[in-house]
Symmetry: C2
Subunit: 265 residues, 2 copies
C-alpha cells in the first residue's frame, strides 16, 4: 500500500496558522512524523490561500524536503502553483491532481508529458462528479489514454474514482468498489487511490466506517490512499486487510505491525 | 444479514459441562441472550458426545425452543442425529449441514427432499477441502443442482464455500471472497454463509482480522454467518459493512446499532 500522508493541508486550522506564521518547525514535525509512521509521499496543500498559494506551496515543499527524503504529493487544482512547486522539488513528485476538467487537463498535461512524475488522475469532468461505475470508467479511460499518449507510464498513474457518501445514496460505496476493481483489471500496472473519508459523510462513528471501507477497497485492489498515517487504527486496518487480501507474503507486514502494537483485538 | 448464533456447541467446555449435567438453565440463557442480541437461528451442536449425540441434540432443541421462537440450526455431520432432533423441532429449522461427501449426501438428501427446511451446503467432497475458486464452484454447482432437483428451493440453500487460513496460503482469503461473489451471481436468490474465524488461524489479533474479513465478505455478497452475536465489535462490523455495501436503506440499521452503543470510533 502506498500511503500519501494527508496532514499538511491548509484546510486544517493548525496548518493554516503555521503557514501564515511561516512556522517551519510545526510543518517539519508533521512531515517527519508522517514519514516515520510509514508515509510514502508527504502531501502538501496551501489551497486556502488565494493569491499566495504558489508561494506557500513552494515554502512547504522546501521545508518538508529538509527533514525527509520522501517525495511530496504536490496538491493543488492550479497547474501554475504546481509548476512553481516543481521548480524546487527534489526527486520524483506525485502530482495531485489532473482531471478531465478541460482547463485543468489542458494546462497540466504539458507539465506531465514525457516525465517520470507520478500523477493522481481524478475521475472528474466538467460534467461534475460521476455516480455510476460506467461514468467513472468512461472518464478513467479518457484520462489514462490521454496520459499514456503523452508518454506518462501506466505505472505512474494513480486513478482516483472518487468516493461519495453512502448516506446520500446507498449504492455509492459499491459503485466505487466496483470501479476500483474494474480499473485495476483494465490497465495493467496502474494504481488506484482515494481519500476515502467522504464515504462516511453524514454518519456517526466516521473513523470506524472509514476503516471498514478501507478494508473492502483493499480487497478490490486499491493500492494507494491519501490518509493520516498517524491514525494507528487505520494503519492496523490497512495491514490486516493486506494480509487477508493476499498482498502480504507470509503475513510478514501484518506480524510486524502487530508487534508494533497498533492492534485492539 | 442472517445470523446463526454459534455458542451452543459442545466443543466449548462450559457447554459440554452443561450438557453432561443436563443443566437446562445455562443452555437456555445462551439461547435467550443470542436471540436478544440478534441471532436469527440458534445453532445446537452436541458433536463431541459420541454415542449420545442424538439424545443430547434432542435435549438441546427442546430446551432452546422453550425460551425463544427463533428456529434452531441443527448442527451435526450425522444424518441420524439430525433426524432425531427434527422429530421434536417446531417451526422451520436450518440443517447444518449437507456436503458432497457421498455418505452424508446420500443419507441427508431424502430428509431434505421436498421440504421447506433451510440447509447449509458445505463445499466439501470426499476429495477434501477445496482450495481454488473453481474447486469450490464445481462442488457448489453439484450440491445446489442436486438439492434443486430434489425440490429444495434455491432460497432455502446456504452455500458455505469454506474459509481456509491466510497463514497457510496467502491466496486463501481472496479465493473465498471470489467464490462468494460468483455463487451469489450464479444462483439467483441463494444465500452464502460461513464460519469465518478459520481465516485468522495461526495469526495474532484474530478477532480483529475476523472483523476485517467479515467486512470484505459482506461487500462480496455474503448474507449469513455462523458467529457469536454477543461479540459487539463483530456486530458493529456487520452493521457498518452492510451500510457501506448498500444493504441498509438510509443506513437505518447502522444508525440503530450506533445508538445501541456497539461502536468504538
Amino acid at each position: 500500500m502506498l500511503i500519501i500522508g494527508e496532514l499538511i493541508n491548509s484546510s486544517r486550522k493548525a496548518v493554516a496558522e503555521a503557514i501564515e506564521k511561516q512556522d517551519a518547525e510545526t510543518i517539519q514535525k508533521l512531515a517527519g512524523d508522517q514519514a516515520e509512521a510509514g508515509a510514502d509521499f508527504i502531501d502538501v496543500n496551501a489551497g486556502t490561500f488565494v493569491g499566495k498559494e504558489s508561494q506557500y506551496l513552494k515554502w512547504l515543499v522546501t521545508n518538508v524536503q529538509e527533514v525527509t527524503d520522501r517525495p511530496c504529493a504536490i496538491d493543488s487544482p492550479d497547474p501554475e502553483a504546481i509548476q512553481v512547486a516543481l521548480e524546487i522539488h527534489k526527486g520524483i513528485p506525485l502530482i495531485n491532481s489532473i482531471s478531465l476538467e478541460k482547463e485543468r487537463y489542458d494546462s497540466l498535461l504539458p507539465i506531465l508529458a514525457g516525465t517520470d512524475f507520478k500523477v493522481i488522475a481524478l475521475c472528474m469532468s466538467d460534467a461534475g462528479m460521476p455516480e455510476s461505475v460506467e461514468d467513472r470508467l468512461k472518464i478513467a479511460d479518457q484520462l489514462v489514454n490521454g496520459l499514456i499518449q503523452n508518454n506518462v507510464k501506466t505505472e505512474n498513474i494513480f486513478v482516483d474514482p472518487l468516493v461519495q457518501p453512502v448516506s446520500v445514496n446507498k449504492t455509492f460505496g459499491m459503485e466505487f468498489l466496483n470501479a476500483v476493481e474494474e480499473i485495476m483489471k483494465r490497465f495493467e500496472g496502474i494504481h488506484t487511490v482515494c481519500g476515502l473519508s467522504n464515504i462516511s459523510y453524514g454518519l456517526p462513528a466516521r473513523k470506524f466506517l472509514n476503516r471498514c471501507f478501507m478494508t473492502m477497497a483493499i480487497s478490490r485492489g486499491l493500492d494507494a490512499a491519501i490518509m493520516n498515517p498517524l491514525d494507528q487504527q487505520m494503519m492496523a486496518a490497512v495491514a490486516g486487510a493486506e494480509a487477508l487480501a493476499g498482498k502480504d507474503d507470509f503475513c510478514m507486514n501484518y506480524l510486524k505491525a502487530f508487534r508494533a502494537g497498533n492492534f485492539a483485538d
